[in-house]
Symmetry: C2
Subunit: 317 residues, 2 copies
């Protein structure tokens, strides 16, 4: 299932509104097919893996990160039907699909065809890898990651505004990789006007992964050749079409607006081993009036070194 | 040598102006004597270990974290002479003693008596464990640790001043253990006046380890039954008698004053998994005018979880 989840991650940021599913088909102790949701959402992971496996899928075990779909579409057949037709003997899925067109119907159809079905292995990791899809289904809005790059004392720039660079090249490359995993990147109007950020993915081989740019602003940002989308409040992220993962990159006002609206699901905290003292804070006023209200909201999921910097990933509890 | 360093740590914070040395004497593969600098500085670690070993020190190996002293004192004989008289065969020391009364003379006297001498094992850890003594000898001032307890965004309190509690009980207990390892604790006048901090060691068995209290203030703090020491500038820490380790506990003004004066050797950063947004910053203006000046000053030495909080220890590079 770990391999299937890793395959699914390949599609992350390019499959919305479809989930980035991963699939591995194993026969006789050998991997005979691998697949992941393709850009735009089709083919599905199972269809791709079955195509590669060909006749070797007969009697095989299919590991997939999400329940095979039960709905026919003009864009392709239902994966549950495809698995039955290919003659697989067993399907292991990490999670059920909350999509009302499937939601248990995929498993039921497999079982009715005599296929052994197991659900649950790798569920936590699969839930994390498809967080965008699942958040859209359960909360009706994208999964939101807030990225901060700060000094040890939580500053993102000197008082003069100088912020290049707080973190080193390894941390900045990692942040660009994160961009590639999101359909859209949002900044506040202040950051947009002051820095005119490119918000693209500057990594070899991933240049084409340009996420859409979104500006949080009470009025449309200035006209230009390639205008960004704009929303006037954090809650309006629910209206962004085909955005399952949104990366909020700053500045302090945008960060505070999303935190105050309780719309941040994941926090990417890049920290350089420097102290700035006076300077621009990472986060503005979030309306907190007592300390008790701050506790119990975040759980550390990952911590690692990136060059001389450190990355911590916190998740909503 | 690791065992000797651990023994030496027992004296830390109570031996100034003497170093907190540790000593282990091994004969026939067995530990026959252990010692550490006693409160007030005497007996020395080697004298204590020799006393415990008795006649078993004949032909033994003595592991000590610092060069045995070569100077007689009214408070006791030279440890080098004691080791010679006890008939040890070999002395392994982590570091030489920069005290001009010893500074190689201890090793020379041992070698002249036919004792094998090895210097260097465990030098880095020993240097860290005797940082106060060594900083006093080389820089003429105490070793200064700055302690900060912050939210993820570098705040130490809400705008209202509410700061109890940012961190949890495990982190606060660790901070009290750190207090016990320092001869003195300093706060700024604002913190002194606002919080009237007790600055004592609230840990079972260590209540008697009350470090001296020092206030950074342009004028003496208000009279009370048990007035603290006060200094008017960070550089005046050099004048504090019998203080080898100083812990700076806040607030933002005192932290900034010591950082701006480049008088911080070690940074203890306790961080809770909370976000405060607007609030009081951990560190005030340190006079930094360009980012380049902030880089290359700190190196992460330790990172660990303390309950749901995290501790990072940075050292001056």
């Amino acid at each position: 299932m770990g391999a299937a989840i890793a395959l699914g991650e390949r599609g992350r940021g390019r499959t919305a509104p479809n989930p980035p599913v991963g699939c591995v088909i194993v026969a006789g102790g050998r991997v005979v097919g691998r697949g992941w949701t393709q850009p735009g959402g089709r083919p599905h992971a199972e269809a791709m893996a079955l195509g590669l496996a060909g006749t070797e899928s007969r009697g095989a075990t299919c590991y997939t990160t999400l329940e095979p779909c039960a709905h026919r579409s003009t864009r392709g057949p239902a994966c549950a039907d495809g698995l039955i037709a290919a003659g697989v003997a067993r399907v292991v899925a990490a999670l059920g699909d909350p999509d009302p067109r499937t939601n248990g119907e995929g498993f039921a159809r497999l079982r009715a065809a005599g296929i052994a079905v197991e659900v649950g292995p790798g569920a936590d990791a699969a839930r994390r890898s498809m967080a965008g899809f699942l958040t859209c289904r359960t909360r009706g809005r994208p999964h939101v990651t807030l990225k901060l790059a700060t000094s040890l004392d939580g500053r993102i720039a000197l008082s003069s505004g100088e912020s290049r660079w707080i973190t080193g090249p390894e941390a900045r490359a990692h942040a660009h990789l994160e961009r590639a995993r999101h359909e859209a990147i949002l900044v506040g109007r202040g950051t947009w006007n002051a820095d005119a950020p490119r918000l693209d993915v500057r990594l070899p081989g991933l240049e084409a992964r340009g996420p859409r740019r979104v500006v949080l602003s009470s009025a449309p940002p200035g006209v230009e050749n390639d205008p960004p989308l704009w929303i006037s409040s954090p809650h309006a992220v629910a209206d962004l079409a085909n955005v399952d993962h949104l990366l909020v990159e700053g500045g302090a006002g945008a960060a505070a607006a999303f935190l105050a609206a309780d719309l941040v699901d994941r926090l990417l905290l890049y920290r350089a081993p420097i102290i700035l003292g006076a300077g621009l804070p990472a986060i503005g006023d979030i309306g907190l009036t007592e300390l008790a209200g701050a506790h119990g909201r975040w759980r550390l999921h990952d911590a690692r070194a990136l060059g001389s910097d450190r990355l911590e990933v916190y998740e909503r509890r």
